[in-house]
């Protein structure tokens, strides 16, 4: 008998707690951002994956070693990496990136490519306006013309650090 009343009382208290939570949500501002009106002030979330890019530094250098792991991991064959074999000044054969093609029309934005990249050479940005009139325009070359691979410091410790850093970042992104 006592349990009957305590059940009702605790039920009412719990319902009121629930209404308090939703009441707080009611007075908190909306997260929706009106698109064409507030186009200039849009604040997409950092984890929003909208377009694959390859960041270049000021001297037009990227980090891509043309290993092709991203293309292998892509579920849709969205990425095509073509590589060139050259001989560097020491006479050693070396593989460099020729073309990094990314077809946004077949990308499912899963993020596997950025997750597996050992160099952290590619990343997703929040630019989402991709509408074009022909499908051929959806295929983009990510490495800029005339760009080359960024020279990394030779010592092994530094090399490891460069390797480890992108992995950590990617794990945080998951």
């Amino acid at each position: 008998m006592i349990k009957y009343f305590t059940n009702i009382f605790s039920g009412i208290v719990n319902l009121l707690k629930g209404m308090k939570v939703t009441g707080k949500v009611l007075i908190s501002p909306a997260v929706t951002q009106p698109y064409p009106e507030k186009r200039d002030e849009l604040k997409p979330k950092d984890r929003f994956r909208a377009e694959l890019t390859m960041p270049h530094n000021a001297s037009n250098e990227h980090k891509c070693t043309a290993c092709g792991i991203c293309a292998m991991n892509c579920p849709n064959q969205t990425i095509q990496v073509t590589k060139n074999k050259i001989t560097d000044e020491n006479g050693k054969p070396k593989i460099i990136l020729d073309q990094y093609l990314y077809d946004i029309g077949s990308c499912i934005f899963c993020g596997l490519c950025t997750r597996v990249c050992p160099q952290g050479a590619i990343e997703f940005t929040t630019n989402f306006e991709h509408a074009v009139y022909t499908r051929s325009k959806l295929v983009k070359q990510l490495n800029q013309p005339g760009s080359k691979k960024m020279e990394v410091a030779k010592p092994a410790a530094a090399q490891q650090k460069v390797d480890a850093e992108p992995k950590q970042n990617n794990e945080n992104n998951q």
Binding site: G18, T22, V25, L26, A30, V31, T32, P34
Partner: protein
């Protein structure tokens, strides 16, 4: 100050002065009253639809409709035009007469209730000595329409939805009526005008705070369940029954159910406001003459619609907060918790009134 009743009296005097035959004046007035109620009915449904969509959006951190007109207020007009233009898809192998009659019965039930409400001082359709009884009786007619719709659609989902709706509405009707009866004991009359008059001094919720508050909570829960909304939307459980009893309806026949649902929301809130919160009576406290005089400056229809809107908002808050109940939990809530409490509430109120322990 100009009251709505003054305008009505003015129209009556204008018609009487210009038309000699008394029956013609009455006929014109009946038509005007009917048109007025129908317009109000449609406007309230339209307003409530946009109100609910906006409030529900804010409960989910969204913006809601914002494209058609300022703040999207003309979205409902566009929706209304769309639903009027839609095809009414005829069914084979069903009971045609009952199928097409059901939406009208639902609409009729809520429209009849409109006649019994008091919208402002001296503004009401009918006023007679069993006003509360009439409201309760007529507002449950629409369940017949729901049952007919479910039965005549010749569809399992509709039938299950209608049966659930029937079980739910009939059981919750009990505690809604019993909690009203407590207030009838307090007032000593079922006449809504008498109830309004005795709340002019102090609202019922303040006259006998404890039983009136218990009664109001029970009434609001029961009324909420009767509208088949919120945590009690088993008859429409879209994940199980697609849309319940109106799954086979399309076009304006579906629109009737939709409008009827929103108007029932309004009606339940309005009855709650009339019986517990003083209806169109301003907030008065005996002894504070200055305060009472200030409150009198607010027109009575603003008081009525303000209180109704407050209760509707409460109903929406509940609807967008809680998950759906199971049918056995629902009936447990009614028969084992709310019914004993409302019976006890009547006893408590009777004891208080008999001993004069009310304000």
């Amino acid at each position: 100050m100009l009251q709505l009743s003054d305008i009505i009296t003015w129209i009556h005097e204008f018609l009487s002065a210009n038309i000699p035959a008394e029956w013609a004046v009455k006929l014109i007035e009946y038509v005007l009253v009917g048109l007025g109620f129908l317009t109000l009915y449609a406007l309230i449904a339209l307003f409530l639809i946009i109100f609910e969509r906006k409030i529900c959006a804010y409960f989910q951190c969204r913006l809601g409709p914002n494209r058609v007109g300022p703040w999207g207020i003309f979205q409902v007009i566009a929706d209304m035009v769309k639903i009027l233009l839609k095809e009414i898809i005829p069914l084979k192998h069903n009971d045609k007469l009952l199928y097409y009659a059901a939406p009208f019965i639902v609409i009729m039930g809520s429209l009849l209730t409109f006649g019994g409400l008091q919208f402002a001082k001296g503004v009401h359709g009918v006023d007679f000595n069993i006003g509360v009884f009439y409201l309760l009786a007529v507002s449950s007619i629409s369940i017949i329409g729901v049952m007919l719709a479910g039965w005549s659609s010749n569809n399992k989902y509709s039938l299950i939805g209608a049966m659930r709706s029937g079980a739910q509405v009939i059981s919750f009707e009990l505690s809604a009526c019993l909690s009203m009866m407590a207030m009838v004991i307090l007032c000593g009359s079922m006449n809504l005008s008498d109830m309004m008059e005795s709340q002019g001094r102090l609202w019922f919720i303040f006259q006998a705070p404890i039983p009136a508050f218990i009664g109001m909570v029970i009434y609001l829960i029961a009324a909420h369940a009767e509208t088949n909304r919120g945590p009690f939307d088993l008859p429409e459980a879209e994940s199980e029954l697609t849309a319940g009893y109106h799954v086979e309806y399309s076009g304006i026949t579906f629109g009737f159910f939709y409008v009827g649902e929103y108007c029932n929301l309004f009606i339940n809130a309005a009855i709650g406001a009339l019986v517990f919160l003083g209806g169109w009576q301003p907030l008065h406290f005996p002894g504070c003459e200055g305060f009472n005089a200030v409150m009198d400056y607010i027109p009575s229809c603003v008081w009525f619609f303000g209180k109704t809107l407050l209760l509707i908002f409460l109903s929406l808050w509940v609807r967008w907060s809680f998950p759906r109940l199971r049918i056995d939990q629902l009936l447990h809530l009614e028969w084992k918790i709310m019914l004993p409490f409302s019976l006890f509430n009547i006893l408590l109120m009777a004891v208080l009134v008999a001993n004069g322990w009310v304000f």
